[in-house]
């Protein structure tokens, strides 16, 4: 098991190499540069900017420089945070004036006083919190709905539950968001229409420093809007899977042994039926954390999702690279966790 995990982590670096190479090539192949403006810049100024960001170098050299900045750790006496060019994600103080630095994702071209690391530090926690909440909503709604539907197959419960699920997945956030805002934010005024209840700095880099009602009331609508579509997927997968599992031989055996129905379901059926559900949780979580563009714009949430889209439209190269690599790492880790969960849930699967 340990070797399996170690190998997967090593392999994660390989993924980053490949993903970064493809992204780097693709984003430079897309026409339009980061310094196009409606009131166009004189070519000399564009040349200055390109020089400042090393965009005048050959592509291969730029790529090499990028990898060097990200991968190669440094030990020097520079205090972190002073300059945009040398802003590292990981800074560890070794001695009086000695620092260990690692992972410099570079400056943002369109947000001139920030680096990609700043965007990670300020915006990622918000997306992470929102993603976790949406996933919680999805599981808490989806799993019970799927179980009821499966146990009462072809009854009114089943049809009703599945209709709710399909409704959830076919009403996009684009419609659901403004609708929720209209009903609960503007008409009833129960919840604030927009905004997020926490701000940097975050506890341990992720968690909000305050968690009163003021925090939760901002989170409810976006979490529901974002999680509803995913809950439908979970509900239907749970239903389909449970229906399949209850027909398995070992369930029949268990029943034949005279076990109580409840025990049969909880000890045997539920666990096995969750395997396909677990499969989708990893990618689903990654998608919930990063695929929040519409939710963020609709509810005015200062998350990360917007940067996935705007960095591309602005040709903000370091932000494109940073966000895509972030997503890649996120997904690889999520899938690793899913694979490990597999082994727990289904003892017949072994990794060596």
């Amino acid at each position: 098991m340990g070797r399996f995990v170690a190998r997967r982590i090593l392999y994660m670096f390989a993924v980053i190499l490949v993903v970064s190479a493809i992204t780097f090539g693709l984003m430079h192949a897309v026409p339009g540069g980061p310094f196009e403006r409606e009131k166009p810049l004189p070519p000399e100024i564009i040349a200055n900017l390109e020089k400042r960001y090393h965009l005048d170098e050959p592509l291969l050299m730029q790529y090499g420089r990028y990898l060097y900045e990200i991968f190669i750790p440094r030990i020097d006496s520079n205090r972190p945070g002073l300059s945009l060019e040398n802003d590292f994600l990981i800074n560890i103080r070794l001695g009086e004036s000695t620092w260990f630095h690692w992972m410099n994702f570079g400056p943002s071209y369109s947000s001139r006083s920030r680096t990609v690391n700043d965007i990670f530090r300020d915006n990622l926690p918000v997306s992470f919190q929102l993603g976790i909440m949406a996933l919680t909503v999805a599981i808490l709604l989806g799993v019970p709905l799927g179980i009821i539907a499966a146990l009462k197959q072809n009854t009114i419960f089943d049809y009703f539950g599945m209709s709710v699920a399909i409704f959830g997945v076919s009403v996009p956030v684009i419609v659901l968001g403004p609708l929720l805002i209209w009903i609960f934010g503007v008409t009833l005024r129960w919840l604030p229409p927009t905004g997020w209840g926490s701000k940097p700095p975050y506890v341990m880099g992720v968690f909000p420093s305050t968690m009163g009602w003021d925090y939760w009331k901002h989170a409810i609508m976006p979490a529901v809007a974002l999680g509803l579509g995913s809950s439908a997927i979970i509900a239907r997968l749970t239903r389909a899977s449970l229906l399949q599992v209850v027909r398995e031989d070992y369930i029949r055996t268990a029943r034949a042994k005279g076990l109580k129905e409840r025990l049969v379901l909880t000890r045997h059926a539920l666990k096995n039926s969750l395997i396909p559900v677990v499969t989708v949780l990893g990618p689903m979580f990654a998608a919930l954390v990063t695929g929040t563009f519409v939710t963020e714009i609709t509810f005015g949430i200062p998350g990360m999702g917007r940067y996935f889209v705007t960095s591309i439209t602005n040709r903000d190269y370091p932000v494109i690279m940073g966000t895509i690599l972030l997503y890649a790492v996120f997904l690889v880790v999520a899938n690793l966790i899913v694979d490990l969960l597999y082994a727990f849930l289904d003892p017949r699967i072994r990794y060596e």
Binding site: K39, L82, T136, F207, I297, L341
Partner: protein
């Protein structure tokens, strides 16, 4: 197996509880699930979630807080005067800094800002402006520990005042090629500026001279009515060199100097906190003495929230915003609503929406086709049915209201108007001559990807089809690609752009855009290669004369002649409409209405 399963499930859910800091799990609804969830709760208890208590809410009554949305998606791009180029950045800058001169946001009159000035023409025919800067304005910053605005002190402990050195520093920093300022070109009228900014010129040769601590002299290449405006633009606001580059008692902050905690300024408001992508809070500067153009603010804080137009309007309706723009989609409903319709204000906005022709491209290289297409656009119908914001049909390019721009009162028949009959006749003439039919004409109309531009494109496409029988092909590209395309050798036949003022003079519209080498008419060595792809010696000469002419009436006349060539005789562009800004304001807000894209909150008040 059982315990392992419960453990895992429990761990999973507890994990998600920790991460999401989830509320207690809701009661289970199904039988089979019950034991699982109970286990979770039992197993979940050892995990202690530490949370600090929420900060005390600010007292309900007391400080006057203005809640104001940006009205667009995304963060404020920058708060660095040398780097700003968009309306939200400039909005904050104009409230936290004050330029040498200050534009009255409602009348577009030029008033003294940080300085009074006198102007003279030197022997070489250059305009020399001497600025006498106020000596009573201290640098200030927000101090988080005392939660108040404090004066900035230098390393010896003396209060730092805003001096001519601070202004000169900004001018040179904006022009420094290493800064890469996107707006440096507006300063190119200063002697030596263009050379330093774009070629090998030295900073010492830029004619921005500090005569003493409170006197600054700027020399412009040519006399022009708009030179003092340019000196007062945000690209010349004083900036704190000691924060940017560091000194004996400050760490150098570089581009980070605008962030929360480092930011220093001197205007009527002071930046308190900038939470990126969320909001920016500005508090009243108690050390601002108040001047004729920039009074002491009556409101204590501005909560500037980064919200796109639809959520911003929802917040307005929920009572959480004091001002908002009205999204087009909500226009009909708002106008019919007895309360909201009372809160609407439609005012001018100094921008022009136009379609450009690539005058060298097939079909539209014939002026009759261009004029026919322009005459076939029913601008009023477009405004009434699609735009709905009370915009004005544009007959020419330079928005009326700008200095030296013709107005509808003085020039009612200038330019081009909707005239379907003449449009048909013109096109028929062209078709007969070339032996074609209207449906054979292949025209591509390109716009950048956006719902608003799409609506306009679809409407105009239909107007051309109905009136002229020409079906144009609509193509959209995303913004960065589009800008590249529109200003390339390969500019499409018809394309759209808008233009908003930098400073209120017709020069900033027609000349800055359409002279050979202008913004929408890129040229190499005086030969246009993209955009409108157009050069007309007569028009060039008219624009040159209008720039240096000092008699205001004559300037209007010269620009009117140039406009007539641009939009009618050569029909290089189709002026579509002049912008308005449509806002709603809560009745308890006393306010002014800016026409240039910025608001001056120091003149506002709240009477809640």
């Amino acid at each position: 197996m059982r315990s392992k399963f419960f453990m895992i499930t429990a761990a999973l859910i507890v994990f998600s509880m920790i991460l999401g800091a989830c509320a207690p799990a809701p009661a289970p609804t199904t039988g089979p699930q019950e034991p699982i969830v109970q286990t979770v709760i039992v197993e979940g208890t050892p995990i202690v979630i530490t949370a600090t208590p929420p900060p005390a809410e600010p007292p309900a009554a007391g400080p006057k807080v203005l809640n104001y949305p940006t009205g667009g998606p995304g963060d404020i791009p920058t708060l660095d005067p040398s780097l700003a180029s968009d309306t939200t950045s400039v909005q904050v800058l104009e409230e936290t800094f004050v330029g040498l001169t200050r534009l009255d946001e409602t009348t577009l009159e030029l008033k003294p800002g940080m300085a009074t000035w006198e102007s003279e023409i030197n022997d070489e025919g250059q305009e020399v402006i001497t600025f006498h800067i106020r000596d009573d304005i201290p640098w200030v910053k927000y101090d988080a520990v005392s939660d108040s605005v404090v004066q900035v002190q230098d390393c010896e402990g003396n209060v730092r005042m805003v001096t001519a050195h601070d202004f000169a520093y900004t001018f040179l920093r904006t022009l420094d090629p290493a800064t890469g300022s996107p707006y440096a070109y507006v300063l190119h009228g200063i002697v030596g500026a263009e050379e330093y900014n774009t070629a090998d010129g030295a900073p010492e040769d830029v004619a921005v001279e500090v005569l003493d601590d409170y006197t600054l002299r700027i020399t412009f290449k040519q006399p022009a009515a708009f030179n003092p405006f340019i000196a007062g633009l945000w690209t010349g606001f004083a900036t704190p060199k000691w924060v940017i580059e560091g000194d004996d008692c400050n760490d150098p902050r570089g581009d980070r100097w605008t962030e929360t905690g480092f930011n220093q300024s001197y205007g009527p408001f002071v930046m308190k906190e900038w939470i990126h992508d969320a909001y920016l809070d500005m508090v009243k500067n108690p050390f601002w003495p108040g001047t004729e153009a920039v009074p002491v603010p009556k409101i204590d804080m501005v909560h500037y929230v980064m919200l796109d137009a639809p959520p911003a309007f929802a917040e307005y309706e929920a009572g959480n915003m004091d001002v908002s723009n009205i999204p087009l989609a909500d226009m009909d409903r708002v106008m019919a609503d007895p309360t909201l319709s009372q809160e609407v204000n439609i005012g001018p906005d100094y921008c022009t929406y136009y379609l450009g022709f690539n005058t060298k491209a097939p079909v539209v290289d014939d002026v009759r086709v261009r004029r026919a297409l322009s005459m076939a656009v029913d601008r009023q119908a477009l405004i009434d049915n699609v735009l709905k914001g009370g915009q004005e049909p544009a007959q020419w390019f330079s928005r009326p209201g700008l200095i030296a721009s013709p107005t509808m009162e003085t020039h009612p028949d200038l330019g081009i108007k909707y005239d379907p009959e003449q449009a048909k006749a013109l096109l028929q003439e062209y078709l007969d001559e070339t032996g074609q039919t209207a449906d054979q004409l292949q025209i591509t109309y390109m716009f950048n990807t956006s719902a608003a531009h799409q609506r306009i494109a679809e409407t105009i496409q239909q107007m051309w089809a109905d009136t002229l029988g020409i079906t144009v092909n609509l193509v959209n590209q995303e913004w960065q690609v589009y800008l590249d395309t529109v200003k390339s050798e390969d500019t499409p036949q018809v394309w759209r752009l808008g233009w908003c003022m930098d400073y209120p003079d017709a020069h900033n519209f027609i000349t800055d855009n359409f002279r050979a080498g202008g913004s929408a008419n890129p040229a190499r060595g005086g030969v246009p290669y993209g955009g409108v792809n157009w050069v007309n010696e007569e028009a060039e000469e008219l624009m040159r004369q209008a720039m240096i002419e000092s008699d205001p009436a004559k300037r209007v006349d010269l620009y009117a002649q140039a406009e007539q060539i641009l939009v009618y005789e050569d029909a290089v562009i189709i002026p579509v409409y002049w912008y308005t800004s449509v806002t709603v304001t809560k009745p308890y807000v006393t306010r002014t209405f800016g026409v240039g894209g910025q608001e001056h909150w120091e003149k506002w008040d709240l009477n809640k």
